[in-house]
Structure formats: C-alpha cells, structure tokens
Amino acid sequence: MKTPARVLADQVNQIQKSGRFSPRSASLPTWCPGCGYFGIHQGLNDCISSLGIPLTQIVTVSGIGCAGRYPFFSKTYGLHTVHGRALPAATGVKLGNPNLTVFAVGGDGDGLAIGGGHLPHIARRNIDVNYLLFDNSIYGLTKGQPSPSSPMGTKTKASPYGTIDKPLNATLMALAYGASFVARLFAGDPKGITEALIEGIRNPGFSIFHIYTTCVTFDKNFKTWAHLKKWTHALPQDYDPTDLGRAFNEVLKDDFSLGVIFKRDA
C-alpha cells in the first residue's frame, strides 16, 4: 500500500514527466550558443512549472529581435508581433481575456527605441502584463548596431567612431512611469529571475523585469558574461522595495544592484 504522500509524489512525478507544465518547446532555441537568453528562458520556464499555470492559459507576446523569437521556444500560446509592438498587443490580449496570464518579452531596441512610446502608457494604465525586457545593450538580430542602452562610446559597424548619445536606464524609467512592480535581474542568475517572476506575477498590475543579459556574438566589450558577473550584486540587506523614494535613490547611485526594486503596496 502506498502512503498518501507517496501517491501525491507519484502524481507530481507523472505530471512533470508528461511535460504538461513544462513550457520548454521540443526543439532547442535557435539563439547562439552561450547567449544570455538561455538563462532567461530557464528562469521563466521554472516559474511557470513551479506555479503550475496550465500552458493553455498563458500567452507569450513579443516583438521582433533575437528576444522576439521567444514564443517559438515555449509551449504556451504565442503572439509574435512586429518590431516594438509587444506591449500594445499584450494590452489587447489581457483586456480581451483577463483570465489569461500574459507575458511580454523583447529586446532593448524593441522596448526602448521603436516601442519606447508604449512603456509609459502600459505602466500608467497598470495593465496586468508581465514584461521581461532583455537588455543586452545591442541590436542582436540585425547584427550588432548600438541600442538606446549602449554606453557612450560604443563602437560598432554602424558607429565606427563610437556613439555620442547617453544610454537610457530602463529601471529608472519604469519607476518614473509609475510601474507597480519593478525588478532588476541578471540572465546569469535564472533562480533570481524565477523568484522575482513568482513574486511579480502576483502583482495585479503591470510588472517589469529589467534583465541584464549578454550578446556573446556582437558585444565583446560591454555586457559580457565576465563583466556582468563582476558588476552585478544583491540589493542592500535592509532594502525596502515598498519605498519609492529609496528605490529612486538606489537606482540613481547603483546601476547593478539586483532584486525587486519596487513594488507598490496593495
């Protein structure tokens, strides 16, 4: 005779083996080997399977870019739109069927350049969409042009003498736009991503996960694995993410502290 605990364990085992809650697509993502996006993929997949959200109840919405390919690597419902328009489409999906869990994913060009006009508005409308911004500070898909988050002086084929524009700080923008949940994360820490996602999904409004990641193919200088590992670190011990003033101060003085930066008190 099996004990009840044993029966339950068997059932969990079976479900896991059936892959019912595993969003991993049958084929491997086509990203370059070593690309930071694999870490984000793992972080989001683990969040979905550990929360046990049925894959049929999830829609993953994206724009265009290497990051935009994400929905093809997930077994949830997917909506791969045009460059920069993931957030408006995700707004329509969520308002169209509020029972769905909606993720929006995309790169820094997609979300801060061509689609940059949508971020303030989804934040102020506080639509219940969970937005993962894959920030590698480069245009990956179009083979390495500078992005709005590239540091000044970035040299690429399109900027052979170095860029002269200041970079945008997506975390700071999200705070200023009034996003109700803001986390800053690192693709090299999938567990951290999973934890923040689990917390952020509970936020009934707009949650943004600003994820530092690397493009191993087109960025050999700035957001490399080695640099990101060296630069990133946890938020201070006594950090209080419900204090918006403190959140601004933190983000202004430290570009690389990671964790839940802000969550609005219910």
């Binding site: 049929t56 093809f72 077994k75 419902y77 995700a90 707004t91 329509g92 999906v93 969520k94 169209g96």
Partner: protein, 590 residues
Amino acid sequence: MPEVDFTVEVCGMAGDGTIAAGGLINEAMSHGGFSVLGFDSYPAEIRGFGRCVTNSRIGSNEIVALGEKTHALISLNDEQSRSRTPSLAEHSLVFFDSNPPAYVPEDNSLLSVLPPGAQVFGIPFGALAVGASGASRGRNLTALGGFAAVTGVDPNLFRKVIRDKFKAKGDRVVDINVKSFDAGYEYALEKFSDRLKSIFSKIETDHDPKKVMLSGNQAIGMAAIDAGLKLYFGYPITPATPIMEYLAKYLPERGGRVVQMEDEISSIGAVLGSFYAGTRSMTATSGPGFALMTELITHGVMAEIPAVILDAQRGGPATGLPTKTEQSDLHAAVFGGPGDSARIVIAPTDVEECYHFVIRSFQLAEKYQTPVIVLTDFFLDNRVENRPLIRAMEGQAASWNVFPDEAFKDHYQRYADTPSGISPRALPGMEGFNFTATGLEHTEKGSPDYSPENHAKMSEKRHRKLRYALKDLEKPAEFFASDHLDVGVIGWGSTFGSVLEAVEKSRKNGFKVGALKVTSIFPYHSETIGAFMAKSKRVLVPELNYEGQLANLIAHLDSKPVDRLNFVTGTPIPPSAIQSRIEELLGVLA
C-alpha cells in the same frame, strides 16, 4: 400632389445656438414625415471662434444628396451669413434679426448682399425671446418660430421636438423654450399675414414612425454596440473622434470599455491582441492615423488575426484638411503596407449602410481572419439622415469564428492549407491547440519558414482565402438597370447619393443612363463591375479625390478608358456637376 425639395440653412456664430436650431429643423421635419438629409459645417478649425452653418434638405421624396441651392436662410448673425448668399436660390426666404444684439454697420449688413428677388423677413429674435423667457438666449427658437409660420410648418411638430430636446432639463426649461418658439411663430403670423406660404402645410407624406434621425457616426457607434463590441482602442482624430466619444458613453453600461491609447499604432496593436484572445474590438481613425497602422494591419494579414478598422477619411495628404471631406484613402486602405497584403475593404454609402456594414465587418474579420477596413468620410460620418433603421435582430451579429475540430487536438496546424484558404482558428485557453501567431512567413504549423516553396504556397493560401471571401461581400447594386447604357456611372461611399440623383435627373431628361453602387472595394466583384462597364458606351467614375482611386482599381476590367470626374474641393460633389458631365459625355456620343 406637389413635391417638396427644400433646403434651409441656419448660420450664426458659435454660441448663437445655430447647430441646435438646425437639429430641431431636422427632427421636426422628420416627424412631419419628410425625408431629411442634414450636414453641419464649421469652416474654422476651432469651433468656439468660428462660423457655424447647418444645411438641411427636406423632401417629400427620398433625399440622397445635399441640396445645392438654399431656399431659406435663417441668419442668427448677419455678418457671418453674408458668406451664404451666393448659394441662395431665386426668391429665397431670408430670416434675420431686425433688432440684432450688436450694431451691424450698413455696408456689412446681410441685406446689402442679398440677390434681387430675395424675400426678407425681419423679426426681432432677441427681443421676442426676452419677452417670452426673460433672456435673449432663446433667439434661435424665436427664429424657428418665424420660419415655421412663414413656410407653413405645423407648429406642433416644433413644439414636440423642443419638448423632447429639453425634457431632461425639467418642465421650466421646456416651457420657456416652447414660449420662445411660440413668440416668433405668432409674431410672424401676424406681421407677415399677407406673405405666408404653404410650402410644407399641404403636403401629405407617409410618416414612417420607424424612421430615426441619425448621423453616420451614431449609426457606427450603435452598430458596434449591437455587435457586442467589448473593447474600443483609439486615438483622437477628426473626424473619427465622435465614434470614440459615443462608445465612451454607451459601452460601459454594456460591460465594455474604451481605452484611449497613446497613438494609432498601439490602438491597432491592442485590437489585434484582443481579437487574438477571442474578443471583438475595434478602432476608428482618419488618414494620418491609418497610415501609422499599416504595418500592423499587414501583420493581421500575415498572422491571420481579425481586426476592425474604420477609416473616416478627410482631406489629405499628411495633416491635410482635417474638417473637410475626401475619398482619398482608398489606395492606402487597399494597398497600404509592406508585401502582398490583401485585406478586406468595404465602404458604406449612406447612414443605414454604416450600421449594417459595421456589424458585418466583425463577422467578416472573424471568418476570414484578416483586418477589415470600413471606409467612410467626413461627409458620411457627420451627415444626418432619417432612415428606417432596423436594428440587428438576435443572431444577426453572431460570431463567425471558425474553430478547429476536437479531432485536431494535439496535432493542430494553425495555418492549415484548406481549399477555401480558411484555417480554423484556436483561441488561447483551448486545451491542446497551442500555437504561435506570427508575422514571419510560416509553415502550416506556424513555424517560421522562408523557403521558396513555402512562401509561394502560403501566399497563394492567403489570397485564395480573400477570393473566397467575395461570396460574403455585398454585390454591386445596379440602379435603373438596362441592357445597354449610353453612360454608366459607378459610385462609391458618400458620393453615391449624388451619383444617384444625377442619374435620375438625366434619365428624366430622356437619357439612357444607369448607376452602379460599389460597396465591396476589396476584393471586388470584377465580373459584375466588368459587365456593367462593357454594356455602357461610356463609363464615368465620380470621386472626391484627385487621382481617381476607385477608377484606377477597376479601369482594367474593360478595354475602353474610364471617364473620371474628380473633385478636390473638400466638399461633397454636387449632383449637378455629375449631371453636366454625363450630358457632356452624351454630347460627345451624339
């Protein structure tokens, strides 16, 4: 039975109650059983500072176009009304304030520019209103009283519509407004006792109680609500804004919501998102906003996601003429955007069709899984007509979604290449049908695939689907059908009313002329249109654009060249202009 075809204009400055007076004329005459077509214009961009003019054409027979000559002018501001005198008919009636609120210098007066033969009725609008109500605000109503007395309108018609208009404000307000009307009525009856006409009094018309006075915009809004619209996403732009405002007022009580988006790109993005999730939504815009939407519209074509987009055309290009009417977005609606991106484009020609076409647009979008563009224009959206409007019955607005069969569960192909080209569409939440909708070229399963065979096959599938859609798209309607025509006139959109009137008049002059109304702009019924062109010795396409956009689309359907009549005045085409062109062509034939 004498026929009535009478056009009255009210002209004043903003604040004079001009638009309200014009509206009351429309309502009263509609209640009297007349056919009414009204159009307000305000040449100034900002209405608060400009001249307001309402134009109402009132007929005992069906009115389908605006009047060209004004038979009565009601002047609430003489300086402004001077601009209206060129369109006055012979022996027109002119009502003006004989004791105006502000002194008008002699050489600025209305009377000095009236054509000889005009019949002038001076009535102290303001003073009478003060006497009746204690304030001069009711001047517009005393003016209506004078108009009713002189032209022979049953005063009870006006009293009824005044009561209806003000009843929400309480009995006192109703009372003083009716009194103001009566003061003007009685004054004119007595003062002009020897000059009274019976233009409207002896006419028997069959009043249809189902007839309602509606603008194109109201019909569009009502249709969206009757179609069960849940979400409207939009960005303000003239002349589409009234649709958003109508829905903002009436959608919430139906559990729906209007979301004012940050631009037109996000508006169409959200419409696609909600249709993807299975919920009816729409957006309305005008040319500049439509241009911004084109990339995502082609995304709807490629990813096969329904969408409903209403383009209320105005003068273009660029910001163009925001408050003027034009039919110059046809090319953009049919061809705008990257790639071979055929989509459905339909164009109503009157207020009643606005209602039915908008309901149908949701169903077409669902069944053919593609954006549907409804093309209207400023004139059609803003004009009012009294038409027997039958609201959609239960089921008439039913969903036309095509869902996949349970048998395909777990091996579902979202973009299955079927004989009709229609691939059953699953919605998120359906177990076992997960797929990714994409704007990349894709396989039947939905995986990106740029191979030559696949792109050829899937392009063919999408266009086959569009050809198949023709069977659900309204056929062109022929008026005054006959086997041979000397001139066949093809009309579309708001212009069709003028076409019909011109053709009817030419026929009365004994000419062999016919009209074809084209409402399915893309795909179009090439056989029907081609046959009409073939049997007409000359084919005339009048349009409110420079380039002849419908003419360009259909010219290849017949071997002889199409004759074009292009108006770029920002104003509706007068029927007489079409009639002269027809008769000019007939002269060429003779």
